[in-house]
Amino acid sequence: MKQPSPEKTETGADGREIDVEAVLRGDHAAFEQLVRQESPRLFRLILRFVRDDEEARNVMQETFLQAFKRLHTFRRESKLTTWLYAIGINQARAAVRKKRRYTTLEEQDIERLQPAFAQGMYVDRYEAWNPQQVAERSERSRLVHEAIEQLPDTYRTVVVLRDLEGLSTAEAAAVLEISEGAVRVRLHRARQALRALLDKYFR
């Protein structure tokens, strides 16, 4: 069996060190520090899924509880925070599955929103965008937010992890338990779908 090199500490979402060893020993103070450091990012990730503050709070609390109970299952194949986000996203998915109230685009819609090519050239002719002139900042933010909300979960998570939370391709792949190639493809398709959704407002 290959032993991954154990990291004794790692950097949390707020840039401060997390004492991974102490957390794994079940040290309550170290776990408390993990809760303090990772709550904001974990809350944002969960809220993107469940879209309800109250529910996001519950899911986040449950995520930390599950994480603490399952510390012995952490295999050091990823960062501790990556493992924590994966638990959070799975908990959020389960919560959303129970009561789906929002319609998102389907896989075939994402396909339809990709640019079309003929003989290697774009079929459409693109017009320059000028979002600053077209819409007020608040209106722009609303349009962009709504477009992101329309993405299917599989695409929205990748956009949130990579473009909004700034995780690397490797980290996002570890959180979602998919390959780095799949992260790249989904991110590109998601961005192209967003581009197509926003095109009518910004040109």
């Binding site: 109970k69 090519f117 774009y122």
Partner: protein, 96 residues
């Protein structure tokens, strides 16, 4: 076949808009080797449609990055810690 393997095939023929699109994310990240990067850059400079598309793609990413949502209120952390203490104490009593 991964993206970088696909890239090797692109070298054997003239670069098309579709190739540029396919590797757009890597190109923007600066993840292509310098020679390929220069080749992509050359195409985008000569091809107005690719240029406009690339600009829209870039703006999309920038607009997405502005879509921040608020952090949780500070009291949520204290509530979460209280929740954990309660459940972990109960859990220890229930176990077995």
């Amino acid at each position: 076949m991964n993206l970088l393997d696909q890239l090797r095939h692109v070298f054997k023929r003239p670069l098309m808009c579709e190739d540029v699109n396919h590797f757009l994310a890597l190109y923007l990240e600066g993840a292509l080797d310098p020679k390929t990067h220069a080749r992509f850059e050359g195409h985008v400079q000569r091809c107005p449609n690719c240029n406009t598309f690339l600009d829209q793609y870039r703006q999309t990413v920038e607009l997405v990055r502005e879509d921040e949502i608020a952090d949780p209120p500070p009291e949520l952390i204290e509530l979460t810690l209280a929740f954990l203490r309660k459940h972990l104490e109960n859990g220890q009593n229930d176990a077995g």
